[in-house]
Symmetry: C2
Subunit: 104 residues, 2 copies
């Protein structure tokens, strides 16, 4: 994994769904989530399984941006806005956003 440097941002969100683990609803949510990778500026896109017992989240999404402009463009992109309104808010039970940048 390439280390972060300069203005590069790693944006991640740990989350848990309202759906039963292993359900069809869970699978279709993850499929819809994968479509965010196509938004311009999104790099190193991953959907991950959260496996630490020390928190209540069950999945994670991680992506990188070259800098704050690319990140802002993603946040404001119609596909992202629509996904948040129609899929994320109704189907996600709990989540935590964590964004990382290089130290110095």
């Amino acid at each position: 994994m390439a280390a972060l440097s300069g203005p590069r941002i790693r944006h991640s969100v740990a989350f848990a769904l309202n759906h039963t683990e292993g359900s069809a609803e869970e699978a279709t949510f993850l499929d819809a989530l994968r479509a965010l990778a196509a938004i311009p500026g999104v790099e190193a896109f991953e959907i991950l399984r959260e496996t630490s017992p020390k928190n209540g989240y069950r999945f994670g999404i991680s992506m990188e941006f070259a800098g704050p402009d690319a990140y802002a463009a993603y946040n404001e992109h119609p596909d992202h806005v629509r996904f948040v309104e129609t899929r994320w808010l109704p189907e996600v039970a709990d989540f935590l956003e964590i964004d990382y940048e290089a130290v110095e």
Copy 2:
């Protein structure tokens, strides 16, 4: 950044320190934290600055292991145990462990 696959684990901890931002104590803590990179099995080691306003953490540490055996060896390594007892527990105000693995 190489995507996770198979048994590979990305272990991360978001945290905030008891020390004032920019202080000498903060700097020496981060220096001590960097030494964990030398523990056998630790890969892709990063110390990061947390920049989302949506949580109260201020730093992150991220590393990867080839699988659960390497992760367990790290957790049990004397250098890690000593660091937790003498530096982490006294100097970290709040933290959250998040571990990721590949989906399927």
